[in-house]
C-alpha cells in the first residue's frame, strides 16, 4: 500500500478533515471540469439542439449532410488525412528501413532529419512552400522553363497533403524505427534458418512485427492532419472540416449549429483513431529483444545500393528541408514573385517585426510560459495523487487530463467561446471569452497531457523507499513532497515545462478563436495575420523564423535535460 503510513479514517464525520492531497485533487478536478470537460461537453451537446427551440434534434446533422459544401469538406478532410498518411509513409519507410537494417554512414543524419520537421509548425512553412512549389513557385518556374510543364504540387488539397506529410512523417519514422529496433535478431535468423530471406522475409516476419508501431504512428498522423486548422487556412483551402468550423463560428456566429456539428465529427474521429491505435497496440507488445540480443542484424551495403540509399535520402532531405529553406528566403528576401529566387536580400523584415510587432513575442513568452508553468504544477500534483495516494477516483484526474488529447484545438476554442461568452470579468477586464488569460488556460489544457506524462515518468523513477525513509525520520507528508519528491523529479518536470512551452508557443488552432484584439495576440496569430497579404509575408516569415528558433531551442533543451537526467539515474543505480 503506497499510503500505508497514513492514518485510516475513523468513522463517519459530517465535515471530514481533508488532507492536502485531497484538497489539491478536488481543485484540479474543478479546473479540468470547468476548462475542458464542460466546454467540450457543451459543444457536443449543442450539436444536437435545435437552434431556435432548444429542443433535442438530429436536424443539424441532416442539414450538414444535405449541404454540398459540408459533404465536400468532410470527404476532403478524410482524403487529405489518408493521403498524408500515405505520403508520410512513403517518406518514413525508406528512412526507417535503411537506418535499422544496414550499416550506413548517414544514420545520424537521418535521425536529425527525423526531428527537423517537428521544430517547425506546419502552418509557418505553408506559405513558403507555395512560393517554392506553387504554380508560379521556383520549382515549377524552372520546370516550365526547361521542360515546358508544371506539376500541381500545391494546387488545392495537394498543397495541404504535401505540407502535412512533410511535417508529420517523423511520427511514423520514430515509431516505426523503434519497433524495428526492438525486433530481436533471432526472429530474423529463425526465418532464415527455415529457408526464408530477402523481401519475402521482410514481408512475412519483419514488417508484421513492426506493424503495431507503424499503425500507432499512422493513426497519430491521421488525426493531427484531420484536426489541423492553421495549414489549410494559410493555404487558403477552406473546404475542409476544421476551417469550416472556424469560418462558421467566426463568420456566421456563435449560435450557428454547423460549427458544433463539425466539432462533434472532429471529436468522434479523434476518439476513434486514438481508440483504434490503442487496439492495434494492445496485446501486441512485440518488443522481442532478448538479453544479449540486439535489434535487427545489419549488413553492409554494396556500392550500388549505397548510391541508391544516398540518392533516396538526399531527395527526402531536400523535400523535408524545403519549408525551412523557403522560410529563410522569404524572411531575408526583398520581393519574391514569379522568380525562382527573391530579387534581393535584406534584414528589413526583422527590423519591422522588432520595431512594430514585438508585442507578439512578449505575449508568446508570457502565454506559453504561464501555460507551461500551470502544466507542470498540475502535472506534478496529478502524478503524485495518482501514483502515491489512495484517493478515491484519483484515476479520473489522469483520464480527464489525458482526454485533452482527443480534443482538437478548434473544438476547445469553440467551447470556450460558447461557455464564457457572456461571462463578465470584474475590474474592467471585459468578457472572459475575449480576455487574454483564457488563451493561457486554453494552451495549458491543450499541453497538459504531455506535461503529465513527463511528470508521471519522473515520479515513477523516484523509489518509494526514499519517501518512506523521510517519513520514518519524522518528515510530514508535505515536507516529504517538498524536500524529497519534487527535487528528485526536477529533471522530468523541467523537460515537461520546456516541451509544453515550446509547443504552446506555436499553437494556432485554439488561440486563433480566442484572440480578442491584435495587441493580445501571440506569435502564431501574428504570423497568420502577416501571411494574409503578400506585402506582409516577409515579416511573417521573419516571425516564423523566430518561432522555429524558440521551438528548436526548447526541443534541444528538453533533450539535454532528459539526457542529463538519464545519466544521473544510471549513475545512481550503479552505486547500488
Amino acid at each position: 500500500m503506497p499510503d500505508s503510513y497514513q492514518t485510516a479514517s475513523r468513522g463517519f464525520t459530517l465535515f471530514p478533515r481533508l488532507s492536502g492531497a485531497a484538497i489539491s485533487g478536488i481543485l484540479i478536478a474543478i479546473f479540468l471540469m470547468a476548462f475542458l470537460i464542460l466546454p467540450v461537453a457543451q459543444v457536443l451537446y449543442v450539436a444536437f439542439l435545435d437552434s431556435r427551440t432548444g429542443g433535442f434534434t438530429l436536424q443539424n446533422f441532416q442539414d450538414f449532410f444535405n449541404t454540398s459544401l459540408f459533404r465536400e469538406s468532410f470527404v476532403n478532410s478524410l482524403y487529405v488525412s489518408a493521403m498524408s498518411v500515405v505520403f508520410a509513409t512513403l517518406i518514413a519507410l525508406p528512412l526507417a528501413y535503411i537506418t535499422t537494417r544496414f550499416n550506413f554512414a548517414g544514420t545520424a543524419a537521418i535521425q536529425a532529419l527525423g526531428i527537423i520537421p517537428l521544430i517547425m509548425p506546419p502552418f509557418v512553412g505553408a506559405v513558403a512552400m507555395s512560393l517554392l512549389f506553387g504554380r508560379n513557385g521556383s520549382v515549377n518556374l524552372l520546370l516550365n522553363q526547361y521542360f515546358g510543364f508544371r506539376i500541381p504540387f500545391m494546387e488545392g488539397l495537394n498543397g495541404v497533403i504535401l505540407v502535412q506529410s512533410i511535417h508529420y512523417f517523423p511520427f511514423i519514422l520514430i515509431n516505426l524505427s523503434a519497433s524495428l529496433r526492438n525486433i530481436d535478431r533471432s526472429m530474423e535468423e529463425a526465418a532464415q534458418n527455415l529457408g526464408s530471406h530477402g523481401m519475402r522475409m521482410f514481408r512475412r516476419i519483419v514488417f508484421p512485427l513492426a506493424m503495431p508501431g507503424y499503425l500507432a504512428g499512422a493513426a497519430l498522423v491521421f488525426i493531427k492532419v484531420f484536426d489541423d486548422l492553421g495549414t489549410p487556412l494559410l493555404l487558403n483551402v477552406n473546404n475542409m472540416l476544421a476551417p469550416q468550423a472556424y469560418l462558421r463560428i467566426t463568420g456566421v456566429g456563435i449560435n450557428d449549429p454547423m460549427g458544433y456539428v463539425i466539432s462533434f465529427i472532429l471529436v468522434v474521429f479523434s476518439i476513434f483513431s486514438l481508440w483504434a491505435s490503442f487496439l492495434f497496440m494492445r496485446g501486441k507488445d512485440y518488443a522481442t529483444v532478448q538479453k544479449g540480443g540486439g535489434g535487427l542484424s545489419r549488413r553492409d551495403l554494396k556500392p550500388r545500393e549505397k548510391w541508391l540509399a544516398w540518392g533516396v535520402i538526399l531527395l527526402i532531405l531536400a523535400l523535408v528541408l524545403s519549408p525551412h529553406l523557403g522560410l529563410l528566403l522569404l524572411a531575408f528576401g526583398t520581393i519574391w514573385s514569379f522568380s525562382p529566387l527573391p530579387d534581393g536580400f535584406t534584414t528589413e523584415h526583422f527590423v519591422t517585426i522588432f520595431t512594430q510587432s514585438s508585442q507578439y513575442v512578449w505575449n508568446t513568452i508570457i502565454y506559453a510560459g504561464s501555460a507551461a508553468l500551470i502544466d507542470v504544477l498540475l502535472g506534478t500534483a496529478i502524478a503524485y495523487i495518482v501514483i502515491r495516494t489512495g484517493l478515491p477516483g484519483r484515476k479520473w484526474l489522469d483520464y480527464m487530463a489525458t482526454a485533452a488529447l482527443a480534443v482538437p484545438g478548434v473544438v476547445l476554442g469553440i467551447g470556450y467561446l460558447r461557455m464564457f461568452h457572456g461571462v463578465q470579468l470584474p475590474f474592467g477586464l471585459g468578457q472572459l471569452s475575449s480576455f487574454w488569460g483564457i488563451i493561457i488556460i486554453a494552451l495549458a489544457v491543450r499541453r497538459l497531457p504531455y506535461a503529465l506524462r513527463a511528470c508521471m515518468a519522473a515520479l515513477q523513477q523516484v523509489s518509494l523507499s526514499l519517501e518512506e525513509a523521510a517519513a520514518s525520520l519524522g518528515a510530514s507528508r508535505t515536507s516529504t513532497i517538498r524536500r524529497i519528491v519534487v527535487p528528485l523529479m526536477t529533471g522530468g518536470i523541467l523537460a515537461g515545462f520546456v516541451t509544453s512551452f515550446a509547443t504552446a508557443a506555436v499553437e494556432l488552432s485554439a488561440t486563433i478563436m480566442l484572440v480578442g484584439r491584435a495587441s493580445d495576440a501571440p506569435l502564431a496569430y501574428g504570423i497568420y495575420l502577416y501571411m494574409q497579404s503578400p506585402a506582409g509575408r516577409g515579416a511573417g516569415a521573419a516571425l516564423g523564423i523566430l518561432a522555429v528558433v524558440i521551438v528548436a531551442l526548447g526541443t534541444y533543451l528538453s533533450q539535454r535535460i532528459i539526457e542529463r537526467e538519464r545519466i544521473r539515474q544510471t549513475m545512481s543505480h550503479d552505486q547500488h
Partner: protein, 349 residues
C-alpha cells in the same frame, strides 16, 4: 518422419570479429546420428561455432561439410540445418500452427502436405492440442517445444540447439533434457547441443567438445573427458579437481612441497596431477597416508561431507561419503590422506 542422417566435418575453421579472433583452428568430425555437445564457459566461442554452422555471424575461414558437402559459402536459408534458438524466437504475430508451417511454406511444399506435416511435428513434441494458440499464451517449456517442432518440421539434416534449456527453471530443465534426448534418439537426427552446463552435456551427449578461448581443448565421451582430461582446463571445468604442481621422479609424482604420490602410469615430463575430491581417502593423523594436512572447513551436504584441507601444497577439496551416524572430522583436526593411484591422471603442460 524420414530423416537423412548426415555427419558433420569441420576443417581448420578460423573466425574473427574484426580484429578479435573468436575461433582458431577448429577441427572435428561428428558422426551421423550422434548427439554432440559443445561445452565451454561464456566467451569460449561455442555459440559462435554453432552459429557458423547455421550460417550466421561473420564468414569463417575453413570448411564446414554436412553429409560431405561444403556449406561454408551458402547463405543460411540454403543450408537445411535446423536451429533452435536460445530465446526460442517464436514469431509473436503467428499462431503455433503458422509458426511451424513457416519453413514448409518457404520450401514451396504443396499446401495439402503442409497440414499433416505440421500436425505430425506438433504431435512429436506433444503439443497438437495447442496448435491454435499464440506464442504469448504458452509457458516457457511449451514455447521451447514449439520451437523444436518448427525446426524438425523441415526435416533438417542436422539439428542445432543453442543453450536450449537456459531459459527454463531447474525442474523443467531436467525433464526437458530427457525429452530432448528421447526425441533425438527417435528421429536419429545428428544433433549439436551448446551449453555451459557440464551436467547437461554429460547427461545428454554421446560425445562432446570442450572449448575455451576459441580453441577446442578436448573431444571425447563425457566419461573420457572426466577421467582422462588432457589439460588443466578440462580437468577443472568438468567437475571439481585439485590440481597439484610437481615433477615425475622414479615412477612417482613429487609435489612442489616434496610430497610423494604414487602413480600407475609413467608420463615423462608430467608436471601436474589431478586429484578428484572423491578419490582421496581421509583418515585420522598417524595412519598411513600420502599427504598430511589439517581440516580448515567442513560442509555437510547430506550424502557426502566436503572438507577443505590445508596441506603443504595448499588447500585441497575432499569429498567423503557420509554414512549414518558417523561423526565427521572437526575443523582443526590433523588428518592424513591417501590417493588411489589409478584415479589420478597426470598432465603435461
Amino acid at each position: 518422419m524420414s530423416q537423412t542422417k548426415a555427419g558433420i566435418q569441420i576443417e581448420d575453421l578460423h573466425l574473427s570479429f574484426g580484429e578479435t579472433k573468436v575461433l582458431e583452428g577448429i577441427n572435428m568430425v561428428i558422426e551421423p546420428g550422434e548427439f554432440f555437445a559443445f561445452l565451454g564457459p561464456s566467451g569460449s566461442g561455442k555459440s559462435t561455432l554453432l552459429r557458423a554452422i547455421a550460417g550466421f555471424g561473420p564468414t569463417p575461414r575453413g570448411r564446414i561439410l554436412i553429409g560431405g558437402r561444403d556449406i561454408a559459402s551458402l547463405p543460411p536459408w540454403k543450408r537445411n540445418v535446423g536451429m533452435v534458438f536460445q530465446s526460442y524466437a517464436l514469431w509473436p504475430h503467428m499462431s503455433v500452427r503458422r509458426n511451424v508451417a513457416f519453413g514448409l511454406e518457404e520450401r514451396r511444399i504443396p499446401k495439402r502436405e503442409i497440414g499433416p506435416k505440421v500436425e505430425q511435428a506438433l504431435e512429436t513434441v506433444g503439443l497438437l492440442h495447442l496448435a491454435d494458440r499464440m506464442p504469448a499464451q504458452l509457458s516457457g517449456g511449451q514455447q521451447q517445444r514449439v520451437a523444436l517442432a518448427r525446426t524438425i518440421a523441415i526435416e533438417p539434416q542436422v539439428l542445432l540447439l543453442d543453450e536450449p534449456l537456459s531459459n527454463l527453471d531447474a525442474a523443467l530443465r531436467v525433464q526437458m533434457r530427457r525429452e530432448l534426448l528421447a526425441l533425438q534418439r527417435k528421429l536419429g537426427l545428428t544433433t549439436i547441443f551448446v551449453t555451459h552446463d557440464q551436467e547437461e552435456a554429460n547427461t545428454t551427449s554421446d560425445r562432446m567438445a570442450v572449448l575455451d578461448r576459441g580453441v577446442i581443448q578436448q573431444i571425447g565421451t563425457p566419461q573420457q573427458l572426466y577421467d582422462y582430461p588432457e589439460n588443466a582446463f578440462v580437468a577443472g571445468f568438468l567437475g571439481t579437481a585439485n590440481i597439484l604442481k610437481g615433477t615425475m621422479q622414479e615412477g612417482a609424482f613429487i609435489t612442489e612441497a616434496g610430497q610423494r604420490l604414487p602413480t600407475s602410469e609413467n608420463v615423462s615430463g608430467a608436471n601436474r596431477i589431478v586429484l578428484r575430491p572423491q578419490n582421496i581417502r581421509l583418515a585420522s593423523a598417524g595412519s598411513d597416508g600420502d599427504i598430511v594436512g589439517q581440516v580448515a572447513h567442513r560442509e555437510f551436504l547430506g550424502s557426502q561431507i566436503r572438507y577443505l584441507v590445508d596441506t603443504p601444497d595448499g588447500r585441497i577439496v575432499i569429498d567423503m561419503l557420509h554414512s549414518f551416524g558417523q561423526p565427521p572430522f572437526a575443523p582443526g583436526a590433523s588428518i592424513s590422506m591417501s590417493i588411489d593411484s589409478r584415479s589420478a591422471p597426470l598432465l603435461v603442460d
